[in-house]
């Protein structure tokens, strides 16, 4: 079963089945190991505390299993490109053949971890239709991967005479990587946005918490920090005498954390987005966009531009104050169908690159607001939320007052003020951000409160509408509209829009579909 050296009789004799790169035999065990390294380390350490020999055996056993599992893909996976199809055979016990029509191939994604790069190989993900998922080849040599990418997306529509040799190792070498048109390139001044990215901060804090959670039993805290807590005393001193030090210690710790975050996030940004380039090239059918970046792990994703259904521009809270925005595409067939084109960049850059890719200036088109009704609704919700939070804060205050004899009235007051300010500012922002318009080819929608998201979706990419009205919506004539699409997160929401406006918008965006149902 596992003798792929003996080629099965190919249907097209000239197109030879190709192997993965030889280094796969090393890469895939290592990447399997990398995933298992924390559990393995914890397991081995746990066992090793009881008995060093057993710990060692556990570690060796895990390594051996991973190595064997890693060999299987190299032994069993072969692929070839015929004039019309990409075919991949894989599997040890269940032999499967994956076939993708070349004209359905929408994206090719080359990604290399540090291990891949050290060995000069890369992982290839081929995105085809919508729901068939991706075809993964892990890993090919860099040359083979580049060749495969060209064959899948860039080879000229093959002439029948030459078609037989498309997959032959030497025949596609003719074209040196065509010098494409550079759409965007990393500008190091953008790195100022890195520390402002609250989402990354949350991820970093989560990772830190998970790390200490996993190893908290193992880390010798007392020796590391030099703090020993006995009842009522810290390092032999009474707690009371140390409390006043906190006044100094807490701000210092916060400043230190901020510095670490600023430096760390900038380094992370640099490592991740190193040498970012977005290049437009001529593909088999129309142009393609290739985005490549990365210092340690690299990523080069190519999508057919015709399959780009739109883009979003996201302005986060702090980043927005600093004049930055994020640009993501709406695509199909990638593992992430809202890929970031750029790291956070100045709004003018996002707008310019967005205009270049969308083919029209959908990002600065003036938007139609949704009238005064949504605003009243948001203010009302903010008021209700304030009331709820205040009541929630009141409960412990009253309990402490009754049983603890200390009336901490400032707690609910502070909660009320904070909730009111956050709520009303959020409501006002949500109202201001709300809007939509229709350009030549795009449905443009903006929504969100502290984070504003502007979405431009090709009207050709709208594959259906859902108009929802709750009881309260119907009383004031608003509707929650969703434009269904295959790209990105698979829908674009137009919240709190007057029903008549919504119907007119849907009818104008997709007249053929909707106008028959309008009265």
């Amino acid at each position: 079963m596992s003798t792929p050296e003996v080629p099965e009789v190919p249907r097209i004799p000239d197109a030879d089945w190709q192997r993965l790169a030889g280094w796969t035999a090393i890469v895939s065990p290592l990447s399997t190991l990398r995933q298992a390294i924390i559990p393995a380390a914890v397991g081995a350490f746990g066992a090793g505390q009881a008995n060093v020999l057993i710990g060692l055996l556990v570690a060796l056993g895990i390594a051996a299993v991973a190595a064997l599992a890693g060999l299987v893909p190299w032994l069993t996976t072969t692929y070839r490109v015929t004039p019309t199809h990409l075919e991949v055979r894989k599997g040890l016990l269940n032999r499967t053949t994956l076939t993708a029509r070349l004209d359905r191939v929408r994206s090719v994604d080359l990604s290399s971890t540090l291990i891949h790069r050290a060995l000069g190989v890369t992982k290839v993900n081929v995105g085809t239709g919508v729901d068939e998922g991706q075809i993964t080849l892990d890993s090919l040599t860099k040359d083979a991967a580049a060749r495969l990418r060209r064959e899948l997306l860039h080879a000229a529509p093959s002439t029948p005479a030459a078609s037989g040799e498309t997959a032959a190792a030497t025949s596609v070498e003719e074209a040196p990587p065509a010098a494409g048109e550079v759409v965007a390139r990393l500008d190091w001044s953008w790195i100022k946005y890195a520390p402002l990215n609250l989402k990354n901060l949350a991820i970093a804090l989560g990772g830190l918490a998970a790390f200490f959670g996993a190893f908290s039993d193992v880390i010798p805290w007392e020796r590391l920090i030099g703090i020993r807590v006995d009842d009522g005393e810290i390092n032999g001193r009474p707690i009371d005498s140390l409390l006043h030090m906190l006044v100094l210690a807490i701000p210092l710790a916060l400043i230190a954390a901020a510095v670490v975050w600023a430096v760390g996030s900038c380094v992370g940004y640099a490592v991740r987005w190193w040498d970012l380039q977005v290049v437009r090239e001529q593909g088999r059918e129309g142009t393609t966009l290739r985005r490549s970046f990365g210092l340690t792990s690299t990523r080069a994703t190519t999508v057919e531009e015709a399959k780009v259904r739109g883009a979003t521009s996201t302005v986060g809270p702090l980043i927005g104050l600093a004049g930055g925005a994020d640009l993501n595409l709406l695509t199909t067939g990638l593992d992430d169908n809202s890929p970031a084109v750029l790291p956070t960049a100045p709004e003018s850059v996002v707008s310019a690159v967005g205009t270049d890719i969308l083919g029209e200036d959908a990002f600065s088109a003036a938007l139609t607001g949704h009238g005064p009704k949504p605003r009243r609704r948001y203010w009302f919700r903010a008021a209700v939320a304030t009331l709820v939070w205040t009541l929630v804060a009141l409960v412990p205050t009253v309990l402490i007052g009754v049983f603890g004899d200390a009336w901490l009235w400032w707690i609910p007051v502070v909660v009320m003020v904070v909730a009111l300010v956050i709520g009303l500012v959020g409501a006002e922002l949500r109202h201001r951000h709300l809007g939509h318009t229709l350009t030549d080819r795009y449905l443009v929608v903006r929504s969100g409160s502290y984070t504003a998201v502007r979405t431009a979706l090709q009207t050709d990419g709208v594959i259906g509408w859902r108009v929802r009205q709750t009881f309260f919506d119907r009383r004031i004539g608003l509707a929650q509209v969703i434009a269904m699409t295959a790209a990105g997160q698979e829908y674009v929401a137009i919240p709190d829009v007057p029903l008549e406006t919504a119907v007119a918008l849907a009818a104008a965006a997709t007249p053929r579909t909707v106008s028959g149902f309008v009265e």
Binding site: W465, R468, E490, V518
Partner: protein, 171 residues
């Protein structure tokens, strides 16, 4: 149909099967058994547990559990029947459903990927079938619920014929 005239989506042409309300009531009645068990549980607890501030909460819970299925057994099915409507033209499917929240869904047939129909055991007793139309969007699944069996199969056949004739790749 100009953009400035007041616009609404008109009612889709057809109602669902007349047996649908009876089916909804029966399904609700089966669910009501569970509510009733919960209500009895709460009442028994209220009687057995020594009295306290929780006693009236338990009685209230029992009352709520008894009343919970009442709307679904009485007036809701007829409201839903009045609102549920559907229409299949040569161009698109239009479905309206809901009762407190009303939803209109329109999907052009050129973008339909699969058409199928489903029927649960209870639906079979009532001779009902649901037609399900899916597109390339996970948000784009549209159901025409509770049609007469024969009609449902007819609609499926019609939809399959029309969608098969449109060669686009539906994205």
């Amino acid at each position: 149909m100009t953009a400035d005239a007041p616009q609404r989506l008109r009612e889709p042409a057809h109602q669902v099967s007349e047996r649908a309300p009876a089916y909804w009531r029966t399904a609700e009645a089966i669910g009501a058994v569970i509510w009733l068990v919960l209500a009895i549980g709460a009442a028994v607890a209220a009687l057995l547990v020594p009295d306290g501030f929780w006693t009236w909460i338990l009685w209230l819970a029992a009352l709520v559990f008894v009343l919970a299925p009442v709307p679904g057994l009485t007036f809701v099915p007829s409201i839903r029947f009045r609102i549920h409507r559907w229409e299949v033209t040569d161009i698109a499917v239009h479905v309206r459903h809901g009762w407190i929240t009303v939803v209109d869904e329109i999907v052009p047939l050129s973008r339909v990927q699969t058409v199928d129909s489903t029927q649960g055991p209870l639906m079979r007793q009532f001779g009902l079938r649901t037609v399900k139309v899916s597109t390339a969007s996970s948000a784009g699944i549209v159901e025409i619920a509770c049609l007469d069996e024969a009609l449902a199969l007819e609609v499926v056949a019609k939809l399959v014929a029309i969608t098969a004739a449109t060669p686009e790749d539906a994205t």
